[in-house]
Structure formats: C-alpha cells, structure tokens
Symmetry: C2
Subunit: 348 residues, 2 copies
C-alpha cells in the first residue's frame, strides 16, 4: 500500500520533470546538437575549433547563436583536468607593491586566456595553507604565491611559483635583484655626496630574498668607503624605536646621517615623517631612498626616491614559468634587474 504511494510520488515527479522540460536551465551541447541536427561530438568539435565539415559547422554555429549557448567550464574542467585558472596568494591588495603585482599578474594571465583566483592572505600562515588547499581542490592549473608560512604544505601535483622567497629546489622563485638593489642604494647615496648613512629595516625571521638588500647595501657602502649604521627592528618592537635611533644620532652632530636607505617605500614614508617632525628637511638635510618603486595612485610620480622593482617583468616571468610545460627547464631562482628612480627625497 505504502509502496504504491511511493511509486505514485516517483511517477508524478517524473511527470513533473517532463512537464518542465528544462525550461529554466542553460542550454547544453545536447540542446545545440538537437537544434542543429548533428551529433554531440560534432558540436564539441565546433566549440573547440577542431576540423568539422563546413555545412555542419555553419549549422552548429547557427544553433549556438540561436540558443545563446555557452560551454560549461565545470564540465570541461572535470573532463580535461585543466581549468585555465591560476590562484594568486598575496598578503593584501592595498599595499602598492602588492596591488601592482596583482594587476600585472592578472594582465599576464589574461594574455594567455587564464583566469585568476585572488587569495588575499593578510600574512596569516593558517589562511595561506587554507587557500592552498582550496586552490588544489579547485583544481587550479597552478599557484603563484608571495607567502610567509615557512611550513606551507604543497601538493606535489599543482605547480607553484614563489615570489621573493625560495621554497626548496623544486619550486621556482621569482624575485628582483635585492642584493644589487641594496648596493645601488648605497652607491647612489655615495654619489649624491652622503658622508654618513643608515640602513633601516623591519626584522623578518623568514629567510626571504628581500633580506639580501641589507647585504647589498653593506657591500655597496664598503666598496665606496661610506660609513654606515644599521637599525633592524625585531619582532614586537614598535616603530618608535626608529624615532629613538634617529634622535640619538641626529642630535649628535658627529654621527648625524645625511643619507638613509629604507628597506621599503612604506618605511621610507614613515621615516620622512619622523624626520620632518624632528625639524629636519628631506632632501636638504637628509636624503632618503626607499625600495619598491611606489608611485602615487599607482601610476603617477614616485612617492620617494626609490629602488624600483620591475613588477611587470616579475609578473610576466611568474606566469611564464607557471604555465611552462617542461618542468625540468624551470630554473630555481630568477633574479630580475632593479633600477633607481628619483622621487624628490634625494637631490637627484
């Protein structure tokens, strides 16, 4: 009795679905095939630009237009195991260097008809790991990551390109020439007539490429015989330490700096503010050089004199390496050349 009742429900459900046909859902290849009076495979070929007899092609194309058919990427992805999507892991999108990276990587991916899944991590190692897992189960074709989690676990099967941090021999790393950048900053300060300079940086326990700016700067100073001091902020120390450091030195005429190299433009901006609060003029009293190549509003003049990272080239290289088939041909570390740009906080 009850069983009969169930069957009636089942039948009525079937009747219902037949009645509804597939009125609301998007047209599929099957619909197109029926409309054009051809086989499923033929439609697939037309859609993918494979050779198909001219009369068939025309009929299929007409049907596609008529039904406003669009391929379902999820069905494609399921079958092909390729999704034409890459994930970008980056701390945030509002710091100029990151924003610029996002923009140029998106552009480089677009050029190759790839989509970009943006994953803003806020420097959170846990979130970074979550995003990696998400990207993998989302079957992205690859991941580009500027990450801070030293223990990031990566699936062997998903290509990964690291930015600014070497993550082992199997994972290519793209970075700008941080050592040369530090050196260049030192040389520039020397050329600009500085007699006593400083290097300021916020500490990072992570062994990443930007750390080499310090060694480059030291090397540059030594080779020019330029005396220098360094102040490296440790974890937990506030920016006030920089203010104390500066006051200590600037109030003592002998040790006063006439040139400062800051590890990033963000820091340079902060330091310039501190100097101005101390009554010092930039660049008249102290020349300041930052690092990154930050511009006002992303595309106007530089916010300070700076060592410019070649962001478009970094982006292009990341995407190039990511989509390159040949795993063997991928170099472990790509270092791209930096340049100096005047931005009003030095004499030239």
């Amino acid at each position: 009795m009850i069983e009969v009742y169930y069957k009636i429900i089942a039948i009525s459900r079937k009747v219902w679905s037949v009645m509804m046909e597939k009125s609301n859902s998007a047209p599929t290849m099957k619909d197109v095939a029926k409309e054009a009076g051809v086989a499923l495979g033929t439609v697939s070929k037309v859609v993918n630009g494979l050779p198909v007899g001219e009369p068939y092609r025309i009929r299929v194309e007409e049907a596609i237009r008529k039904l406003n058919y669009q391929v379902n990427s999820y069905a494609q992805g399921l079958k092909a195991n390729r999704t034409h999507t890459a994930a970008l892991l980056i701390p945030n999108t509002y710091l100029p260097f990151f924003a610029s990276l996002v923009y140029h990587i998106n552009l480089a991916l677009l050029k190759r008809k790839y989509r970009m899944l943006l994953c803003s991590t806020d420097y959170d190692p846990g979130l970074e790991q979550e995003y990696v897992a998400m990207a993998q189960q989302n079957k992205v074709d690859g991941i580009i990551g500027l990450t801070y989690n030293p223990d990031l676990i990566l699936d062997e099967t998903t290509p990964f390109i690291a930015i600014d941090r070497s993550m082992g021999p199997r994972i290519p790393c793209v970075t700008s020439d941080n050592f040369a950048g530090g050196q260049l900053a030192a040389e520039k300060l020397a050329d600009l007539g500085c007699r006593n300079v400083a290097f300021l940086r916020i500490g990072s326990s992570l062994n990443n490429e930007p750390n080499k700016r310090k060694a480059g700067f030291e090397n540059g100073c030594l080779s020019r015989g330029l005396p220098y001091e360094m102040k490296i902020l440790n974890d937990g120390e506030s920016y006030e330490e920089f203010a104390l450091f500066l006051k200590e030195h600037m109030q003592n005429g002998k040790l006063a700096f006439d040139g400062i190299f800051c590890v990033t433009d963000t820091l340079a901006h902060l330091i310039i503010k501190m100097l101005s609060d101390m009554g010092l003029r930039v660049p008249e009293d102290v020349q300041v050089i930052g690092f990154d190549g930050t511009r006002h509003f992303g595309d106007q003049e530089y916010t300070c004199s700076t060592i410019v990272q070649p962001v478009p080239e970094i982006a292009e290289m990341c995407v190039e390496l990511l989509l390159q088939e040949n795993r063997q041909a991928k170099p472990p570390l790509v270092c791209l050349p930096v340049s100096y740009a005047y931005g009003g906080t030095t004499n030239k």
Copy 2:
C-alpha cells in the same frame, strides 16, 4: 586485417590503462569508499557533514586522511550548479579606491567561504563584456561589477551587483552617498572660511552615481551662499585645461579661489601639484578637498583632505546582496554614508 590491427591497438590500450591503475591521479571518492569499505554515497555524506552512522564516519575519515583525499570542486560544481565563487569586475587594482574595494570584497567573500575571481578590465567595455561571458560560462554564483560599458549584456540567470552605476531596476546598485559627499565638501569649505570655491571634475558621459557629487556640491554652496565655479573636462581634453583654468582665475585677484573640491583624490593630487607649480601654498592659500578617502600605502594617513567612502561597508553590502537568496528583497539602490577626513590640504 586492418580491423584486427585496430582491435589489437584498442586492446593493448586497455591493458595499458589497467597496468597503470590510476597511479598518478588524485584519489577520488571511489578510492576512499574502497579503502573504507563503504559505499560511494556514504563518503559523500561524510564529506558534506550529513548524518552518517558513527562507525562508518570514523572509517571514512580515516580513509580520507590516509589517501589525502580532497573533493574535486569541478565535479561538485557540475552537479550542484553552485560553485561558491564570485567574480569581481573592476578597472584595475592599483588605484587606491579600487585596491581597497578588491581587498574588502575578498574579505567579505572569504567570511562566507566564497572564492573570488578577479577581473581587471582597464575600463575596456569589450573586455568587460568578455569577462561577463567568461564568468557566466564559469558558472560563478554571482558577479560584482564596477563597470563602464553602458551596453553590458547580462545573462538573466547570474546575479549581478553593480557598484556606483545603476544598471536598471533588476540590478541592485551599491554606492556611497555621492550627493551628500559633494554637499559635505561645500559645507566644509564654507566652514573653513572659504569665500570663493571651485569644483573640478573629469567629464564622464556615463550616467553613474559619482556624477551626483557635482549636484551635491552646488546644493551645498547655494545653501551657504558660497560663490563657486566649475570646470568639467570633456572627453579628449587634457589636464592642461585645469592648469589654464586655474591660472586664469588665480592671477585675477578678484576671482581667486581659496577652496577647491576635486571629484577624486587622484585629481586633487594633480591639482595640488599644479598649484604648487604656480607658487601657491596648500592649504595656506588654497584649501583642497578630494573624494574617496585615499590613504598613503592603503592604511596610513590620508593623502589629502577628503570625503571618505565607506569601502568596507560597500564591500560587505555588495556581498550581502549578491548572496542573498530572496531576489525580491533586494533594493535597487543602496547609498552608504560618507564622512570628511582631514589630510593636510585644508586648515582642519
């Protein structure tokens, strides 16, 4: 004869695939089911947190861990027709307002476990349309778009939330209160003692929400009896027009402006530069107010005195509306309150 040859190939292929088992590909639910000795459906239930008998659940979870199984989102998406992904169409990511939007929308989506496909359009109407088509065939659950294509064709089935431009009664639009913002700027300049002000803006033929800043400013000036002039750049005119306009007025003492409202912070920045080139000091000689709430490096102090758009709230509202089930309950236009922030280019 040939036929036999074909069959041999076919058979050997089958033998080959059996030999290879599925050694390299990622584990599937089937593998987990086999490992745990349960049915496929049971694994699915465990993965989706549906009720399953405790002993079964434990065995499945163990198998998942052992095989390091991850669901295939593409198979899920194909079946469920929901992908937990939203697309964001935005001109670029390096202009601060856009960068901030991207960041906060990503955050709001993350909070709801949604992924974000970033589509940087470069103001290109064709690219905007391409991205919309891409998003639709990618079966995203919705699109948030700050677009400039007046003829953008949208699939009825994909929810769309517009930012800053009304796109018809069926598409909700989120924006900040641009009229109130213009008014606030006028009132602020009046409060700061200005006697003769100007409104500068770059023309846009598009009928979007930010255009209301002009009406708001006029309204504010009129209600305070503050004389004002406007200079609106037409398509194709260069920024030099602004310089000419300013020189014309500033060199004539009577008409000299002591307050300027620029339609964006970007423009304000440009104008401040022009004023400084003309030997005028900001804010001593002229006070300048921008619009957007741009900060140095995204999170430091404001780059100029400005009308701040509530970006986090805009982002939250967009995502809220996008993912809201009830289509009817979505209002056509949401206007969020703006505020004034001091940024050094006014007296207070």
